[in-house]
């Protein structure tokens, strides 16, 4: 078959489609978004009626995927690393319920925080949930793991974590496809109580999971995704996890690595192979993208000298790996690289020219000024860029939904009025429940839901909030005359400032909705049609 040029994320989507997946569930998040987007536009996926609508958040996505698995079909759920925090309850418990149809949880980590608040390593979660983890070294392997992962999941009746990182996700390579596996028929779990985690049942299932650990390990030892390459120089052995293998190979263009190399693509670690390396090598260098997960396991609490990696300074403790860092870890001399000339200024991302968030912030800054600084709790989205010059408009950005709840807590502490700024998509992701808390106590907070009809920051995906925000707020119990929609334009500036001041002075929950279409979506015809139908502009 001819090779097709795919991003790592797209290769996973293609692998899952070819692996008999019946549905992908996801909430957008860099660098995982392109997996679902690929399924949404893929012709074969559409012909096969593979589900690919966005979910409201990662938890709802994880649960829906688990439901599809319950019904016997193969499902994938995708998210960025911090999304797994949101889905964690469902994720950890899905290891105990186990699966019926194969279930792959694909999580994209972002070491070096290219587009994220942290660089947490999802392999910790996989280990925590005690399930097998797959970690591809390149895009072709990502394709194969997505395709094979369902089988592995069905073999052991547990979900499988597929862990990737930004660099793999956003890099293209020619992919060779394999044949398409048919989707499963519907079927119920053999044990009708498998998914009922009452303590008495959960205890049993947990024991089953514990007993299975040894089988996961044996599977890793025999897995084609792990392999041991012999080497003549036993002074050093190298364990290369996932993508890190490429940076190792890059330093040996003639494929003449003198040391034994253990490539890791499937966890739990293949114990026998690790033992072999420890038996024959004087020192062991661990190359892994993200946190020193493997290194810490091998080093143990007693800091065994023999293990080198991110914990002893052989490699940096944080940030992404690259060929140069790996070269110095291997002891290669490198020429001093040229510096970036001083004349080059940083060019941080910024809100687009004509973005409605800007006008909302200009008005908010003026209104807040009368009450005093330091009271604006924001959230995650394009509007987070309001933290930068020249706006300096916000005082927090922590996790999705935290704006409303942090404002409430601050108001409880006496910071009155407190203001929350949240986007439309983030509001339906996890702002609604926080708003209910505030309404329940009539907290003196003003919530700006800056509505641009889209999930902007991640590339303008559909927003579940479209056309529903006022009704949701009313339903939650915000007083209707304190739900105010505004058109954020320069012309309306004075009006906006006046309304914001009034609402901030109000001793209860108010919701102000600055509403203007995201400038990046003006050519989106489907959205235009929906806006027309909903009579929105």
């Amino acid at each position: 078959m001819q090779k097709i040029l795919l991003l790592g994320a797209e290769a996973i989507a293609q692998g899952a489609i070819d692996g008999g997946m019946s549905g992908v569930y996801a909430y957008p998040g860099t660098p995982s978004t392109e997996i679902t987007e690929y399924v949404q536009r893929d012709k074969l996926a559409n012909e096969l009626s593979i589900h690919s609508e966005w979910s409201s958040n990662e938890k709802t996505a994880m649960e829906a995927a688990l439901g599809m698995s319950y019904a016997g079909k193969r499902a994938m759920v995708c998210m960025k690393h911090v999304g797994l925090n949101v889905a964690a309850d469902a994720f950890v418990n899905s290891a105990i319920t186990g699966v019926n149809g194969g279930l792959i949880v694909t999580v994209a980590d972002d070491p070096s925080m290219h587009s994220s608040q942290n660089e947490q390593d999802s392999r910790f979660y996989g280990k925590f949930a005690m399930i097998p983890i797959l970690e591809p070294s390149n895009q072709q392997e990502a394709y194969e793991m997505a395709r094979k992962g369902f089988e592995l999941s069905e073999k052991f009746k547990v979900p499988v974590l597929l862990r990737i990182t930004t660099r793999l996700s956003h890099s293209r390579m020619g992919i060779t496809r394999l044949d398409v596996i048919k989707q499963n028929e519907n079927s119920l779990p053999g044990d009708p109580r498998q998914f009922v985690l009452l303590p008495s049942i959960a205890r049993n299932r947990y024991k089953g999971l514990l007993n299975n650990q040894i089988n996961f390990e044996i599977d890793s030892e025999n897995s084609g995704f792990n392999n041991y390459t012999e080497g003549t120089n036993k002074k050093l052995g190298i364990i290369a996890c996932g993508l890190a293998l490429n940076y190792l190979n890059e330093n040996y263009p003639n494929s003449d690595i003198p040391y034994p190399v253990l490539k890791i693509g499937q966890y739990p670690l293949p114990r026998k192979l690790v033992e072999k390396m420890f038996g024959e090598c004087e020192e062991v260098l661990v190359l892994e993208e993200g946190a020193p997960v493997v290194e810490e396991m091998l080093k143990g609490y007693l800091q065994r000298e023999k293990v080198k990696g991110r914990l002893d300074g052989t490699l940096p403790r944080d940030g992404e790996l690259n060929p140069n860092l790996v070269a110095s870890a291997l002891g290669f001399e490198q020429d001093e690289a040229e510096k970036i000339p001083e004349i080059v200024s940083p060019r941080p991302p910024a809100m687009c020219v004509g973005c409605g968030h800007i006008d909302a912030y200009v008005a908010l800054n003026e209104a807040v000024g009368t009450f005093g600084k330091g009271r604006v709790f924001a959230d995650i989205g394009c509007y987070t860029l309001g933290a930068l010059e020249p706006y300096n408009a916000i005082n927090s950005c922590v996790d999705m939904g935290a704006s409303i709840t942090m404002a409430k807590g601050a108001a409880d502490a006496g910071l009155i009025p407190a203001v929350a700024v949240i986007g439309d998509s983030t509001f339906t992701h996890s702002g609604m429940t926080g708003l209910l808390d505030a309404v329940a106590e009539n907290s003196p907070i003003t919530v700006l839901i800056s509505d641009n009809f889209t999930t902007g920051m991640t590339g303008q995906q559909d927003s579940k909030a479209l056309g529903k925000i006022e009704d949701i707020c009313k339903g939650i119990g915000v007083a209707p005359d304190h739900i105010i929609v505004m058109n954020p334009t320069r012309k309306n500036h004075d009006d906006m400032v006046r309304v914001l001041k009034e609402e901030m002075a109000y001793k209860g929950v108010s919701v102000v909705i600055p509403r203007r279409q995201c400038v990046q979506t003006v050519k989106n015809k489907t959205l235009a049609a929906k806006l027309k139908e909903l009579n929105l502009k």
Binding site: H114, L168, G174, N246, P323, I340, V344
Partner: protein, 193 residues
């Protein structure tokens, strides 16, 4: 054959179209390819780059090591300099001279161009003006590709074929415009070599 290319610009300037064109030409020649891109936050007007690696043997790393890039193709002059640490000693810096100013502390243009011209092998062309002259303002990225075309170790006809493949959907007129943009870029660069 092995060539490592860094594409540089600002989010929204079309460096991925350059990458896609080169990539298509490479695949049509059955070469191996890796193309690392920037998606996400930086696409909102921040600095973006792509690492494009082509070889007749399998490629290991998605990222190019420091000092190893054969060519930097930049659609913006300040961005061309940001990746200087990656350029090899004999590598070529090929850049557009028109600044994209979306920050307050953008440096003085003359000083910037002087700095670019201090690089051993450089080509500086005003791709924006040239693209406008052929009434194809949006094709300045392809003008830059043309300017760099002789350093890519790919046949010019293969790049032309790739342009046809990439722009086919948009109609014959767009294809022709971009072929012209490619040509004027190539010619302008040849005058400077």
């Amino acid at each position: 054959m092995k060539i490592d290319i860094i594409l540089a610009g600002v989010g929204g300037q079309g460096i991925l179209t350059i990458a896609a064109t080169i990539g298509t030409a490479a695949l049509q020649n059955n070469l191996f390819l890796k193309q690392s891109e920037v998606h996400g936050m930086s696409q909102r007007g921040g600095d973006v780059q792509a690492n494009l690696r082509i070889s007749d043997k399998p490629i290991a790393s998605d990222l190019i090591a420091k000092g190893k890039a054969d060519v930097i193709i930049a659609v913006e002059p300040m961005e061309s300099l940001r990746y200087l640490p990656f350029l090899s000693k004999d590598g070529w810096l090929v850049t557009n001279s028109t600044p994209f100013v979306n920050i307050n502390n953008y440096p003085d243009k003359d000083k910037l161009i002087k700095k670019v011209k201090a690089v051993k092998n450089n080509i500086v062309i005003d791709a924006d003006t040239m693209a406008k002259e052929i009434k194809a303002a949006r094709s300045s990225n392809i003008v830059m590709l043309g300017a760099a075309s002789s350093f890519l170790d790919l046949k010019y006809e293969d790049l032309e074929a790739a342009i046809r493949t990439i722009f086919e959907r948009k109609g014959e007129k767009i294809v022709e415009t971009n072929l012209k943009a490619l040509k004027i870029g190539k010619e302008a660069a040849e005058k400077q070599i």
